[in-house]
């Protein structure tokens, strides 16, 4: 089994934030993936998707699924991140008041993403954009241990 999906995300469009995560969740449910793994995956993805909407001009989400794992790549065009290490600190945020009004922007997103993925890789170029890669394995042996 090899599945590939691509979704585009519009920066600033909060009413659409979460649509990709919702579609990925439905796909994983149809594939009968373990419920705990689905939850970890979509929580990490949703935080990352909200980040594109909140901080970037737009982006693409690439999803690849095989028998063992899901690989998600979120590529955005945006301001990029100057200090990735700092964004991992709980409480650090550059979110606008608008983002905070949506219930985000408290500086928890990246640590949430990290806690809910087997592998999280973030690369960024200031002035160009950010790429976030999330890999989760379907065999649920990492759940809660990270």
């Amino acid at each position: 089994m090899q599945m590939h999906f691509e979704y585009s995300v519009e920066g600033g469009n909060f009413s659409q934030a979460g649509l990709t995560s919702s579609q990925v969740k439905k796909t994983l449910k149809q594939l009968n993936v373990n419920g705990a793994v689905i939850k970890r995956t979509v929580v990490a993805l949703y935080e990352a998707e909200v980040n594109i909407v909140a901080h970037a001009y737009g982006g693409t989400i690439l999803v690849d699924i095989d028998e063992e794992k899901i690989v998600i790549e979120l590529r955005d065009e945006g301001p990029g991140i100057e200090d990735i290490g700092k964004t991992m600190e709980i409480g650090y945020s550059t979110a606008t008041p608008e983002v905070r009004e949506m219930g985000f922007g408290a500086g928890m997103g990246l640590s949430n993403m990290n806690n809910n993925s087997d592998l999280l890789e973030i690369t960024s170029e200031v002035g160009k954009g950010t790429c976030v890669k999330i890999i989760n394995h379907f065999k649920d042996d990492n759940n809660g241990n990270k």
């Binding site: 009413s15 934030a17 979460g18 419920g35 939850k39 979509v42």
Partner: protein, 114 residues
């Protein structure tokens, strides 16, 4: 506790989720911060919030929360109802404040997450 009892204890109105009324809730989390809600791993969880927007429903969807209580009678949009319906999430609207609704449910036996 069944969702139908939560409707009655909070003096609430069920906006959507007739089919959820018999579903059991064990724990509740009260928050307007969705990132905080997304850290919760409990099942059979109820969310009480004053944040009335699509993200509250999307957060419930991602976290497998089957019932959201919106406090202080805040108006729920049609789009929110549609997303909730699609994902079988019950929405309750209560006139009570977050403090009062949480207190009543806690006294009635709903457990906290932390």
């Amino acid at each position: 506790m069944k969702i139908k009892e939560i409707v009655s204890l909070t003096n609430g109105s069920l906006i959507t989720g007739e089919e959820n009324l018999e579903q059991l809730i064990e724990r509740a989390f009260s928050s307007d911060l969705m990132s905080d809600v997304l850290t919760v791993r409990s099942d059979k969880l109820l969310l009480l919030t004053g944040l009335v927007n699509i993200q509250a429903i999307r957060t419930a969807e991602m976290s497998d929360i089957c019932c959201v209580v919106f406090v202080r009678n805040k108006k729920v949009s049609e789009e929110m109802v549609n997303i909730a319906r699609e994902n079988r999430i019950a929405i309750i609207q209560t006139p009570y404040s977050m403090f009062k609704a949480s207190g009543i449910l806690y006294s009635a036996g709903i457990q906290p997450v932390y």
